[in-house]
Amino acid sequence: MTALLAVSDLATHFATRQGALKAVDGVSFSIAEGEIIGLVGESGSGKSVTGFSILGLIDPPGRIVGGSVKLRGRELVGLPARDLRAIRGREIAMVFQDPSATLNPVLTIGMQMRLALEAHGAVGEADARTRSVEVLARVGIPDAGRRLDAYPHQFSGGMRQRVAIAIALLNRPRLIICDEPTTALDVSIQAQILTEMRDLAREFGTAMIWISHDLATVSSIASRLLVMYAGRIIEEGPVADVLREPRHPYTAGLLASLPANARPGMDLRQIPGSTPSLFDLPPGCAFQPRCERRSDACIVMPELVAVGPARRHRCHHPLAGAQA
């Protein structure tokens, strides 16, 4: 399997008065054509910044300070803005959390879709319309032909997110980066969109990076899971394997704290402490102050080590899996 996208040692830092904030600090992973991976972490873990960095959407004071992002072998880091623009929306598209912030409120949906098409090649008005209606219908917008002339505020939140997804699909990208696309939606709408996205990815062979804080959502769409903590990947593997047999104490702690894994009314297993500030990271493993398995060794940053063909973890004292 050739990698569609290969990210290696990616580091994105933000220059602040208190020094460099290492939002993403040495992240490596790859995605095959048509694969859906889940990128999971809490706020400040660097999962969104990773997604933004792939597309070169980091504004000052942020900067990609190291590493590489290769799309089918072509380096994206350091590419001139013009070349990046040709890739954004064409080869890699993005769907953001809040569709009301990504759609232009003063343009009709049809116009925004036409602009997205024209950005990557001349299309006639009629062609643009046909293509737009086709894609809108595909993401489940009823009466798509008439809805083209509507403005974003005339759609509900769920429908707006479908429009954003339709725009992402317009140019048939190879990869869609989805940054918490269902977090702002109700569960019934979330379930609809999850099912549709999964079917679309399968039908078009589109690869996806699904960024979320919700393990259950990710587990229902992705096949491989990457867990991030304080700017680094701390665990990786096939979704079901990681959730069944987490190796990193943080992943295990997160899973144990879910109400589904506790008896109703009894205390939940909790991870003590709070997520560390990126300005004030503990030495070595960033999770060590909250970890019940820590030892003196943990003040040295553990490497991300491979276990078997598919799993990796960054821990000196991993939990022993049944197959380890």
């Binding site: 109700d186 569960v187 709070s274």
Partner: protein, 331 residues
């Protein structure tokens, strides 16, 4: 068990204020469409002493508005709320009692950024004579300790705390009023996953220690199941189902409840099973113009002609449960 709080036929309508242009037009005799939102529409139920009642629904269903009516923040447009048999609100429509307190979703918005934590906590109790200015410091420290914060937190400002710690402060502020009942509106929704369990555990502990009665409002069905004794499901301003939590989760009686439970993504730990959702079709109708009859009929796979015309009355479905549906599911 005795009811602590009774909600009788409570409705809450919001009528948007007309703009200047619309007011002029109305003066000139133009018909002006007033768009009234029926946020809560004829809701009745009782909350028993010492129980945790979960209130669940999607955004816009009126669960937060109902919570605020029960906490005495919004006066109801119709119906009334009683606490131990006495009206919650005075004749002027304002709440006089400290016995119902509220914890809000966003601890960044619910704490005054310019007031020290100690003062935030002791302000209400001083006004209600629970403590004095001289003893306020010790009083605040006592409640900070109850929520697991150090006494010196009293001297700090909200911005010096993390989200989880702020929510602890908000809970301490509510507890310091020595309430019988706590209305918690999405208390963990804005917190990180690893912090949510801490706050849920804190609420469980406080319930045991102080014998608190709680209304726990949330859209997170997993957390509600964990914390609630009984659960009420709300759809477009009405309660569609109410009953003991485990019974409702095991066998929902209302098609909406079942659809909602089917929509929750579950952790997949077996790579062989392909997850299949049975998503509810369609969208939540606008509360400005809810459909006639049963509000859910447009999205309901079992809807028949009655459902389009007649509003189903909530009635007993056995084992302490009730459901507002013409054709409830077998339980």
């Amino acid at each position: 068990m005795n009811a602590l709080v009774e909600i009788r036929n409570v409705s809450k309508r919001f009528v948007p204020r007309l703009s200047l242009g619309e007011r002029i037009a109305a003066r000139l005799g133009q018909p002006i469409e007033t768009r009234t939102v029926h946020a809560v529409d004829g809701v009745s139920f009782a909350i028993r002493k010492g129980e945790v009642l979960g209130l669940v629904g999607e955004s816009g269903c009126g669960k937060s508005t109902l919570g605020r009516v029960i906490a005495g923040i919004h006066p109801p447009s119709a119906g009334f709320v009683t606490l131990d048999g006495a009206p919650l609100l005075g004749p002027d429509g304002r709440k006089r009692t400290r016995r119902v307190q509220m914890v809000f979703q966003d601890p960044f918005a619910s704490l005054d950024p310019r007031i020290r934590i100690g003062e935030t906590i002791s302000e209400g109790p001083i006004a209600h004579g629970l403590t004095t200015k001289a003893e306020a410091r010790a009083y605040a420290a006592q409640w900070l300790a109850a929520v697991g914060l150090p006494a010196d937190a009293a001297d700090r400002f909200p911005h010096q705390f993390s989200g989880g710690q702020r929510q602890r402060v908000a809970i301490a502020r509510a507890l310091a009023m020595k309430p019988d009942m706590l209305v918690c509106d999405e208390p963990v929704a804005s917190l990180d996953v690893s912090i949510q369990a801490q706050i849920v555990n804190l609420l469980l502990k406080l319930r045991r220690e102080f014998g608190l009665t709680m209304l726990f409002i949330s859209h997170d069905l997993g957390i509600v199941r964990h914390i609630s004794d009984r659960i009420a499901i709300m759809y477009l301003g009405r309660i569609v189902e109410l009953g003991p939590t485990e019974a409702v989760y095991a066998a929902p009686a209302h098609p909406y409840t079942r659809a909602l439970l089917d929509s929750i993504p579950k952790l997949v730990t077996d790579s062989e099973t392909l997850v299949s959702f049975k998503p509810i079709t369609g969208e939540l109708p606008s509360p400005l113009s809810p459909p006639p009859g049963c509000h859910f009929h447009l999205r309901c796979p079992f809807a028949r002609s009655e459902c389009r015309e007649i509003v189903p009355i909530r009635r007993e479905a056995g084992a302490g449960r009730d459901v507002a549906c013409h054709f409830p599911l077998e339980t």
